[in-house]
Symmetry: C2
Subunit: 214 residues, 2 copies
DNA sequence: AATATAACTGACCGAGGAGTCAGTTAGTAC
DNA sequence: GTACTAACTGACTCCTCGGTCAGTTATATT
């Protein structure tokens, strides 16, 4: 009767509040990044975390609160890495390159976190967070560009307009390619960086010398 | 008693099946593009279409069916425009430009349709449709590139890899910028096209001449 | 061993939303 | 006018999911 193989299977080990919180966050990261905010269910987070749903509410006031905690963590981490890497070098082209490399390193180490940020465009909260992030990156790109001397030809559009477009194009392109790379990991990271730099930097250099297409 | 101002307010006009179907699709386009597939409710579609929810089910077997009808319509329309515009000219740079312009025209005429395609990355069906679309565009870009002569230096990565990355970078960048433009309609369309062409084409031209960054 | 407390759970509630069905009514054909 | 059909509806069911609560149990402290 008291067959040990039928004994209360695993007298689940209790964790400290901090550890359990971290475990829940990890499970939530998986589910949220795979399904997106709205489609992610807390029941699934609970199940994957090996925990009851009620326990989640001991650590987070609501589903949104949980999402915000996740976003907060990774947004700050990502910004930190990119800014730090970029500020560590001097030349504009090195700054761009360092920023790109930092982003790709982040993608490599925490693919789920990158997906969390990029695969949630439809959710107002996550979408806004990503927009802000890209806006910052675009502003940084714009700074790199005005260091160079753009030479507007007569009849051209205002420089700020062109700079803003190019900056967003670059920031958006890098973001997109980082996401693309997650699904094409056979491509070596250096190939991605080199291609980005080749197209962007060579193009920019020519542009600042007054060259235009055709 | 029979005060005419209290008479049965509007003896709702009936439509033919085809017309009603079109009206429902239009209402669905609005709701789906604003909220995304999962968050969009058929109750809201019904309300905005001025129709009962049950009627929607007379025209579409399910919510997914309705989404597929929408996607089908606009995906084909978009492909058609871009391919037609691009095929109408000869030079590679003109083809790229024509394709970009066709996409932006589509964005201008049917902003909701573009949002339907781009603001639904998290939904498996819509996401897959957008992926296929971009894949096609990237393939077309790759074709434009191999027309030129890329000259691999010894020790370089295989050409196909570089071409694939650049093609996706361009396709993804254009897609992103089209979406960005929807929220920045003060920017003139020509400015967007010119910037895209300047960065991409000038960069590509230099690259095919064996130039690299630095 | 007794006590306190913090980690943890099962069972529940209410709202919202997909999908259904038994009808009602506007047009049409005679 | 009458009858027929196709457009159309209100009221319903079922289910998922965010959130709650009344407890139960592991562990640290004494």
């Amino acid at each position: 009767m008291t067959d040990p193989s039928h004994a209360p299977p695993a007298p689940r080990r209790r964790l400290s509040a901090a550890d359990r919180r971290a475990a829940i966050l990890e499970a939530a990261l998986q589910v949220f990044s795979e399904r997106g905010f709205k489609q992610a269910s807390l029941d699934e987070v609970a199940e994957r975390g090996g925990v009851s749903k009620a326990l989640i509410y001991e650590h987070f006031a609501s589903k949104r609160e949980l999402q915000l905690a996740l976003l907060d963590t990774y947004v700050h981490d990502l910004i930190d890495r990119v800014v730090r890497a970029s500020a560590a070098v001097e030349a504009p082209e090195d700054r761009l390159r360092a920023g790109i490399e930092a982003l790709l390193e982040f993608a490599e180490e925490r693919p789920a976190a990158l997906r969390l940020l990029t695969r949630n465009v439809d959710d107002p909260v996550a979408g806004a967070a990503l927009d802000r992030l890209r806006e910052e990156a675009a502003a940084a790109c714009a700074d790199l560009m005005v260091m160079h001397a753009p030479e507007p030809r007569p009849g051209d559009l205002p420089v700020e307009t062109t700079v803003a477009i190019l900056a967003h194009l670059i920031a958006g392109g890098v973001q997109f390619l980082a996401g693309w790379w997650l699904d094409h990991r056979d491509v070596p990271r250096t190939a991605v960086v080199e291609s980005l730099m080749d197209l962007y930097w060579v193009g920019l250099e020519r542009l600042t010398q007054g060259e235009h297409w055709r």
